[in-house]
Structures are given as structure tokens and as C-alpha cells.
Amino acid sequence: MKYTPRQTESNVNVTPTSPIREFFVLMGGLLGIVILIYILLGLAVNLIVPHISVDLEKKMAAPFIRSMYAQDADTIRQHYVQALIDDLQVRCATLPYHFQVHVRKAPTINALALPGGHIIVFTGLLDKVTSENELVFVLAHEMGHYAHRDHLRGLGRAVVFMTISAFLFGPESGASRMVARGLSMTEMSFSRSQETQADEFALETLNCAYGHVAGTTDFFEKIPREQDPGRFGHYFSSHPENRQRISHLLNISRDRSFKLADRKPLPEAIKRSKDSSTGKPSPSAYP
């Protein structure tokens, strides 16, 4: 047997391939599947939400909400807002929730509806409101989200998204932590129709509480200047254009011939506490 030295020209063991192209094809496929699952599970959440009882909602929310009591601040204003909500609850919008107000120190001019009847009010909102009517409208708007159970829909989708991310990248991975952080913003973003419904609910409630609807649109007029949805459209982009919302509210007021009257000013104690925020509330305030 003769040995002929020769170098093989082609390499059969390595597939000639473009790794970049392969990467994008696989990544695109994966993203497509994730988006599809997200949409499908999102639809499933919408179907399930009407069947979740308020009791079940409270039970599910309990582990997440517990940590919030520790962050509560600003007792005077917290008690004031709590009293407003309790009053609305008794007189006008009786919902199957026991609402609990949490005041958070943040410049955000907004309030959030969390599961289990926990309403977060940011000090940014409390600093900006000029009348009780205006504040009540914002609170009633959040109550409208509870009435339509919008908060569960948003949260349901957030949970779906977190589950997918934990499944794909592992619960401790950077990607999952990133998703969880981003959710604090997205989970509370509602669709246009949900916002409009909550606005209508708030208008009715305001009319019931004061017998007139003055102060309804005050809140919106503050937003465009300070948190322009066009430029910083991450959070408020989910809210319909504020101008549209204002005109919609004015139309309804006209159609239902709601009256206008003088606004009820904020109590002196609340105005004064704008600059000085007190420390933590006494534990006895929270059963």
C-alpha cells in the first residue's frame, strides 16, 4: 500500500454557514413565538378576569401588598385621601372593595389602582391639585378601573410576560429582572377604551358626590405641561390624548345636563403639608 501525501481541500465537518443570519432567524422565530403566546394568554386573561371574585383577588394580592405598608408615608394627607374615598364609597360608588390608600413620595402626577383595593397616590399629584373636586375626580377614575376590573387585566398580562421571561431566561437572570422592573410602568397602563370608561365612571361619581361636575378637567390641564405624552410618552401614551378626554367629558356633561358650581378648596391642613412631609404612620392605623 502506497501512501500519497495530500491535503484535503474541503472540510466536511464544518457546515459553511453565516452565523449572523442564523442568529437573527432563530431570534426572530423566538420573538415571534413569545409575542404570539403573549397575545393568546392576554386574551385568556381577559376571559378569566370577570370570573375572579374580589375575595380571590384579595388573597392573590396579599403577598405582594404586604411590603407596601412599610413604605407608607405622610399620615395627614393619607388620612385625608382615605376619608375622601370612604365617603365616595358610602355615598356614591359602592364597590365590593375595602379601599386602602397608600401615599408614595414621588413627583409623578398620578394615582394607581393595585389589586385588592389598594390605591397608590403619589405626592406629586397631591402637591398639584388645587381643589377637592379635582382630587376626587382622579380617585373616582381609579375606582372606575376597579369597577371594570381593568387593574386585573393589566396585571394578568404582566404576570404572563414575567412567566414567559422566567421560563426562557431563568428566574434569576438579568433579562427577567429587567422585565420585572419595566413592569412597574407597563402593568398599570390601560387601553383607550378602559380609560374612557373609567373617566365616565368618575364623572358620574363626581356629580353624585357634589351635585355638580366642576373640577373634572382640571387634572388633565396640568398634565400636558408637565408630562407631555408626546415627548415622554412611556406612561401616558396609554391614556388617550388628553384633549380628546377633556372634550369627551365635556360632551357627556352637556348631554346629561350636569351642573357646574364653585370648587371645594382643599382643607388648610392639607395645603400646609405640601412642603413638610411627616414620617411613618403609627402601626395602629393599619389593621
Binding site: P5, Q7, T15, P19, F23
Partner: protein, 149 residues
């Protein structure tokens, strides 16, 4: 956000550094393979030389460890989801085996032929940390025969 940036940096560095290293390695492999072309390494135990003509017989071996880069690992991870040929690992195994063979030949020095050549692969450093960057080791061994005349 920072996690995403770090991820993108890692994947870019992995791709660029990995591709450059691979190209350079293949150039060196081809060059040395040409140099060793006259030293055959065969899997047969016996190539027909009479025993009295064998001047010396010596065990020779060579091993090489090649690490995957971040990009290849990512690509293989995506492949794990969909299935199919893990093309990104093919070149690693190919490089490791050829490098091991070359080192074995280098150890053989002036031998005439290397018989009974075997190649084995194993993973080392797998799951050494949680990121699971694995390395691949290939070892080639055989018997180098020096023939008289």
C-alpha cells in the same frame, strides 16, 4: 437596560473575537498540516513493516482545549429551543481535533509513521460558573514508529 447593554456588548465582543481567533487558528492549522504532510497518522495497528526493521516505537499524544465564545453559546442556546444541527459548535470540535492531531505529530518528531491513532473528546469546565461557558478538549494518541532504512 444595563443588562441589555452588557448583553449586547458581550455578544458583539464574542462574535468579533471568536471569529478572528477562529480564522487565525484555521490558518495556522492548514500551514502546519502541510508541514506534517509526510508523517502519516493512521488508525491501523499494523502497516506491514517487518518487526526487525522497527527501530523505535513510542507512544505519542497531543491534546487541545478550545473554549466557546459568548456568541456561539448564545446561538447554540437558541438551537436548543428549536433543534437541528448545532453549526456553531462544529468548527470548535473540528479545530480541537485537528489541533490535537498536529500536536501529536509534533511529539512524534522524526518518526516514520504513527499507527493505531485514536481521538477522544471531552468537555471540561462545563458549568464551572453559572453562565455555563464550556470548553472542549480533544486528545489524540497513537504509536509512533521509526523505521530503519
Amino acid at each position: 437596560m444595563y443588562d441589555l447593554i452588557i448583553f449586547l456588548i458581550l455578544i458583539t465582543v464574542g462574535y468579533i473575537a471568536g471569529t478572528l481567533a477562529e480564522k487565525r487558528h484555521y490558518r495556522s492549522i492548514r500551514k502546519r498540516e502541510n508541514a506534517f504532510l509526510n508523517l502519516p497518522a493512521v488508525t491501523m495497528k499494523d502497516v506491514g513493516y517487518p518487526a526487525e526493521k522497527v527501530k523505535s516505537a513510542q507512544m505519542v499524544y497531543g491534546s487541545a482545549v478550545i473554549s466557546i465564545d459568548y456568541f456561539k453559546r448564545m446561538l447554540a442556546g437558541l438551537r436548543n429551543i428549536f433543534g437541528g444541527t448545532v453549526k456553531s459548535y462544529e468548527s470548535l470540535i473540528d479545530r480541537a481535533r485537528r489541533e490535537a492531531l498536529l500536536r501529536m505529530k509534533e511529539m512524534a518528531g522524526g518518526a516514520t509513521v504513527i499507527v493505531n491513532v485514536r481521538i477522544e473528546t471531552s468537555t471540561i469546565g462545563k458549568r464551572a460558573n453559572k453562565k455555563g461557558v464550556g470548553c472542549l478538549e480533544a486528545i489524540a494518541y497513537g504509536t509512533a514508529l521509526t523505521i530503519e532504512g
